[in-house]
Symmetry: C2
Subunit: 321 residues, 2 copies
């Protein structure tokens, strides 16, 4: 929770910001300066809402806030705006910053509340191919509000890691990597699974060494599909320690993702993430010779929701004027 | 079944050859010239034998053959010789050909039958890292017996595809790729799964075009983890046809494997495989400008078992003499 600066004791809630993804739900009650007056988070991501009754999940979590401040604005971001979510918020295209997002909010109809959703982006990856995002655009707006560089290469790791070229505060291209999903698949359901200890690797020296060995392995030209089998062969031939296999796999996959750095515009790298993933990516980036600016993902998301809501209000005033 | 050449009607069984892998069992009753007198195959791979009672599986399948020819030699290859199989056949190392394999057969004790297992190989991949094989060594011996080139780059696709540098009839290095396993994981359990039709892609024109598009995509520098997400983004942004997604995924993964061709010694490529995988790899290799010699994997395996058994007999005679 943000500290309350002395001398400002009136804290009027003006926004309920909701980060609603595939597997998690986080809501924040915020005052105009982004201070968190109350918050709730749980595992009711959109995949857990089988009957389409998203409204109940929201009112279960935030009903008291909605009752106490009738008409309070609710702004949501993430997969809740996808086709499988509550109400589809169509993708925006082109170079996108806070203004473009604020101008394209989608209202959820028929709830009796003022609920809007930030659009996702349909854009171009670093090779000119198709790519999509939902949620990260809001984090990027929040990062900028926290004075992160307006032109930089942003890394937002996760199940589907995003690398974003931000140019003068606008998203001008981004590439998504299946890194987190691939780690889970290989750890839980592959030929490597029986060789692995299933505790989360702790970052003791042996795991860090294995992580870095995996990272270096990814830089070899033999390719990911071979390197994955190599992890197994190394254990069978007793050249590698099976207790650190998950850490090595993590290093290998993050290393495969970091090949993006060869193609990305050589800006400053800004890492927007949450521990423990944040620590792994920071370690990996430093190992590759980058010194990332590191920001907390949840904080960026919250702040982004507030910024987009404020920009939308300003647009309404402008139109009214 | 092999045709019986006219003029040779005495067909005495001399070997039961067994190809016993993770998910399948194939046994052949053969005469000294490799003609198949009888055969049986089913799905009782080693993973399906929970209680370790491999002997029952063998006698259920081949009991009549064993009874009719008491003392007949049984030679097995594949994962049956792994730690999770019937009896561990330790890996051989170094440059390995038929003689080295025949000299290192492992006898299965306590069955009352003459049962031996071909060893696997623990070797070096094309980058000098660890790699292992079990079963493919036998196919390679069979390919050579069928007059395939003694020095060439062999491709043996499958769940774990092998690329082998064969030099003067000996395996001098090989790299394994997780291609088939990765295809199954991504098709059945990933973010791509809901987008795919689950019929086996048929090789009509649309699938072939999608397969080749995936193959070309793999040659781009953006990396496999990004390209996999791209498949999804292409469908969401309606730039790609979801009905051909499995074919495109297959092309992408095989394309990622074929990057090996940049590192492999530029010999003739020999493809040892079974349809439909054989057809995809042949198409992919031709698309990359290679004209592979194509051999049938099952036939190579059967013939390899016969060759290794004969070489082992010759060694015994040599020692006796």
């Amino acid at each position: 929770m943000d500290p309350l600066p002395s001398g400002k004791d009136i804290r009027t809630p003006v926004l309920i910001g909701v980060d609603w993804g595939t597997s998690a739900f986080r809501a924040y009650l915020m005052d105009p300066e982004g201070r968190v007056l109350d918050q709730v988070s749980h595992k009711r991501g959109i995949l857990s809402v089988c009957d389409g009754d998203f409204e109940s999940v929201l009112t279960d979590a935030c009903g008291d806030w909605l009752t106490a401040r009738p008409g309070i604005k609710v702004l949501m971001c993430g997969m809740i705006g996808s086709r499988g979510g509550w109400h589809e918020a169509h993708y925006v295209t082109g170079a996108v910053g806070v203004t473009e997002l604020a101008a394209r909010l989608t209202r959820v109809p028929g709830t009796g509340h003022d609920i809007q959703i930030v659009p996702g982006l349909a854009g171009r990856d670093f090779s000119g191919g198709p790519d999509v995002m939902r949620g990260e655009e809001t984090m990027l707006v929040g990062a900028l509000a926290a004075d992160a560089p307006r032109s930089a290469c942003y890394c937002l790791p996760g199940t589907h890691s995003k690398w974003v070229n931000l140019v003068e505060g606008r998203i001008c291209g981004f590439s998504t990597y299946l890194t987190g999903e691939m780690f889970a698949l290989l750890r839980e359901r592959s030929i490597l699974t029986p060789l692995m200890t299933h505790d989360e690797p702790d970052w003791c020296a042996v795991s860090e060494a294995a992580f870095l060995a995996g990272l270096d392995m990814a830089a070899e030209p033999s390719g990911l599909l071979h390197q994955l089998f190599s992890l197994r062969a190394g254990v069978l031939m007793q050249e590698a320690d099976s207790t650190a296999l998950a850490a090595k796999l993590s290093g290998l996959l993050i290393g495969a993702e970091l090949a993006v750095l060869d193609n990305a515009t050589p800006y400053q790298v800004v890492l927007v993430a949450t521990a423990p993933v944040k620590d792994r990516y920071a370690l990996a980036l430093r190992h590759k010779g980058f010194e990332p600016i590191v920001l907390e993902a949840e904080e960026c998301c919250r702040r982004g929701l507030l910024e987009i809501a404020a920009a939308a209000d300003a647009l309404v005033l402008e139109h009214a004027g």
